[in-house]
């Protein structure tokens, strides 16, 4: 059974926020709720890195451990989902999550939290697939349509990868072995060719 995961390649992310916009549009996420966001460190200085962050669908999810009403569940593909009919909006999951994934709409009076909302890996919720209830509460169920999360699919530099963890690990491994790591992979030498790369030799037939 495939296990669904996100990987964000920080060497490729250009902070375009396309993933954030696509997610909000696809699921019609209300104002004030961001299922995905782009975090930038060392902004404006050499070594700046950006990374798209949402629910990482942890294998041992702390949100599941702390939920007092046990509204979380994990699908066969390893996607962590929750039941909004059970959620009481206590906010424990927000404090437990290391990625800040759980979001709470300010739906009521001051201090009153609404139902928690988070990334669903575009896998909907416990309602029937493609039903109106499922869309209203959790957004579109692209996984059931034979697709992957839209944030990963729209990523222009393919920095954000989503899908089968085995396939993604293979793709990432291939990238790292091709481009190197650390200080070797940014700067002029990467953009215009490596200085230590051997010069291209013309073909033997062209020397005559």
């Amino acid at each position: 059974m495939a296990r669904m995961k996100f990987i964000c390649d920080a060497e490729r992310c250009i902070e375009c926020n396309g993933c954030v916009t696509a997610c909000k549009n696809e699921h019609e996420v209300p104002w004030g709720v961001n299922r995905r966001r782009v975090v930038t460190i060392n902004d404006g200085v050499p070594g700046e890195r950006s990374m798209s962050v949402a629910c990482m669908h942890c294998s041992d999810a702390p949100c599941m451990a702390v939920c007092p009403v046990d509204c979380f569940y994990r699908t066969d593909e390893g996607v962590v989902l929750h039941d909004k009919d059970l959620c009481i909006g206590c906010g424990y999951c927000f404090y437990a999550c290391p990625f800040g994934a759980p979001q709470f709409p300010q739906a009521g009076a001051f201090g009153l939290r609404g139902k928690m909302d988070k990334c669903t890996f575009c896998a909907g919720g416990p309602e029937k697939n493609a039903s109106e209830d499922e869309f209203r509460k959790y957004g579109r169920n692209r996984l059931a349509e034979g697709k992957l999360p839209l944030c990963a699919e729209v990523c222009s530099t393919k920095a954000l990868l989503g899908g089968d963890a085995d396939v993604l690990a293979d793709i990432y491994r291939q990238r790292v072995t091709t481009r190197g790591k650390g200080a070797d992979i940014w700067g002029w030498s990467t953009a215009y060719g490596r200085p230590d790369a051997p010069a291209q030799q013309p073909d033997a037939g062209g020397k005559s």
Binding site: A2, M4, T75, D76, E77, V79, A123, K128, N129, A130, N141, L143, A144, E145, G146, K147, L148, A152, E153, K158, L161, G163, D164, V167, L168, I171, Q174
Partner: protein, 70 residues
């Protein structure tokens, strides 16, 4: 032939006509059912509407993996 015998013969003829009529309607319904089954929805839509089908390798996903390797 008495009047009673005439009446029985008439009823037999009516039964024959009734049977033929029902058979015709049934045949027409069967033809319509076969035709409508030819316009079935794509498998992906059916999987999405029925049950909780999840991830599976589709052409769409295979294309995504292929582009991500660039």
């Amino acid at each position: 032939m008495t009047d009673k015998d005439n009446l029985k013969a008439n009823l037999k003829r009516r039964h024959f006509l009734l049977t033929a009529g029902i058979g015709g309607v049934g045949a027409a319904a069967a033809v319509m059912a076969v035709r409508s089954s030819g316009d079935a929805e794509p498998a992906t839509d059916l999987a999405a509407k029925n049950g909780k089908g999840g991830y599976r390798m589709t052409e769409h996903i295979a294309n995504y993996y292929r582009t991500a390797r660039v």
